[in-house]
Amino acid sequence: MKICVLVKEVPDAAVEKRMDPNSKRLDRSGEKNLNPFDTHAIEAAMQIREGGAADVDEIVAVTMGPESAFRALHKAVSLGADRSVHLTDEALSGSDVCATGYALAKVLESESPDLVLLGQQSDDGECYTIGAVVADHLKMPSLTQVIKIDVEGNKLRCERQAEYGYDTVEIELPGVISVGDAINEPRYPSLKAIMGAKKKQLDTKAVGDVGIEADRVGAQGSQTEVLGINPPPQKQSGEIIEDEDTNETVEKIVAWLDERKLLA
């Protein structure tokens, strides 16, 4: 079995994120890191490999992003991927969900995976959607927010929480699964793995290398446009208590609740 894991470089959680008022895109300067949700997808691939229910020949980390995104691939490889593919091209800049999903599907097509895994959302933007977009292009069955995967021959038995409780769904491979963060606790990479990551194969691809039609990607190929960026409605910020003396803190909380007649 060959598993491709889609990963993304996102601004580090500690960095204050902002929109660039000129380009109307997210300002992506500053410290970056591997999208924390993607580490669960890599871990899921590793657990399939180590679980023994399937022979995993290869785990390939795949990303689309600017030149700097190779660092996310190094991190992915340090967490267990065997090699990585970086789709990077000026023509892709400004792609919306529709264009991004199409471009990623084309790279994946060139890899012919049996299973595509990804995180349930990215820390910086699009939620929940990329897996389903990619799956439709690849004509593969797909599920999002999966919290348990069992390999049974050519099928995966998946569990997830949906609108009315827990669903168990069986999908036939090849397929696309986005995993929820409850699926596992990602391991920490060893120092050796971190040092070795730079030596693993990393293929850089441009739009033309994987047959992407340039007019379907980038700002030109996108079907949505950001018309404006506005501040949210002002909400009066609440009172904050730093707990130093717990007895005093508790006294304040009780007084606050009592004032609002919540202790009646």
């Binding site: 529709c98 939620c127 990329i130 069955p141 036939e172 397929g175 609440g238 707990d243 717990t246 909380i253």
Partner: protein, 327 residues
């Protein structure tokens, strides 16, 4: 035609978020009647429980027509096949979804199938210059972007509870059966079990006071502190998706995107960071108190009283103090 809204149902009843979306679709179609040139419609996919009678009730929420197709329930890709055909055959200009997992999946699949623009987590839709513009909060709700559509159709996926249910129509939508051959890949996912309830059945929707616990409680036993406080306050205990999925607390107590939506008089969040998926289920609570050791937790952005500190120290003392105060 103008706006096509997906209506999810389960065991003979439509989903509340879907009814909100159907209402919103009808409202927008009316506002843009001249430009869109048609009434709003809904689409349903499922089995025998989708009776003529049930489908026609969507008229109460403003749908003039209901397109009904036979297909497996609880899975997104068959609905993508149906909606792609209905949109193409009838020239719908927008497809609209209420919040929830399936809405996201179907909307995203439709985006790929039709090469269409999509906006998700939408909290509001407005008519502007004859077109729809979707408002989407981003970056932990610190900014709102206005998104417009270049081509047709435009796909709008609402955030949970974004659209209000509005009954106004006469309850007699025209039901039109459509026959759609499913794509091969849409038949390769099979529902084995749907809607399994895990853990005890607890009722949190009627409680005036909720003490909700998240990962910050540290371990399943941490919920004992929340339970003691809830008992002292005369309330019930709720939980986040993270701790429910981890098996710390029953599913029936879950608040948020895939759980319940509540608006009690007091919502006391213990060890909850306040991710959007949680926020959408409790943000309308009258009073929100948050206790968290991380001063940067997003929950402090929308709580009325925030306490930065250690739960293990604060909760037991707070429980005692509440008991003493109430006598």
């Amino acid at each position: 035609m103008s706006i096509l809204t997906y209506a999810l149902h389960y065991e003979g009843e439509f989903n509340k978020n879907s009814l909100g979306a159907v209402s919103e679709g009808a409202k927008l179609a009316e506002e843009l009647a001249e430009e869109l040139g048609g009434e709003a419609a809904a689409v349903v996919v499922g089995g025998e429980d989708l009776t003529d009678e049930l489908c026609a009730t969507l008229g109460k929420y403003g749908a003039a027509k209901v397109y009904r197709a036979k297909g497996p329930e609880g899975l997104a890709q068959p609905v993508v096949d149906v909606m792609a055909k209905v949109v193409q055959d009838n020239g719908f200009k927008y497809a609209l979804f209420g919040g929830g997992l399936l809405g996201f999946e179907i909307g995203a699949g439709l985006t790929a199938r039709l090469g269409a623009g999509v906006t998700m987590e939408v909290t509001s839709v407005k008519a502007q210059d004859g077109k729809l513009v979707a408002e989407r909060p981003i970056l932990q709700d610190s900014a709102i972007v206005d998104v417009g559509y270049v081509g047709e159709p435009g796909i709008i996926i609402g955030r949970l509870n974004a659209f209000d249910i509005a009954e106004g129509g006469d309850g007699t939508a025209e039901v039109i059966d459509v026959d759609v051959a499913l794509e091969d890949h849409s038949t390769k996912a099979v529902m084995v079990q749907r809607g399994e309830q895990r853990g005890a059945d607890v009722n949190i929707e009627d409680a005036d006071i909720l003490v909700a616990g998240g990962r910050g409680l540290g371990k399943p036993e941490g919920f004992e502190l929340a339970e003691a406080l809830a008992e002292a306050l005369g309330g019930a205990v709720a939980a986040t998706r993270a701790v429910v999925d981890a098996g710390w607390y029953p599913y029936a107590a879950q608040i948020g995107q895939t759980g319940k939506t509540v608006a009690p008089k007091l919502y006391l969040a213990a060890g909850i960071s306040g991710a959007i998926q949680h926020k959408v289920g409790m943000q309308n609570s009258e009073n929100i108190v948050a206790i968290n050791k991380d001063p940067n937790a997003p929950i402090f952005e929308f709580s009325d009283l925030g306490i930065v500190g250690d739960l293990n120290k604060i909760l037991p003392k707070l429980t005692d103090a509440v008991k003493a105060k109430k006598g």
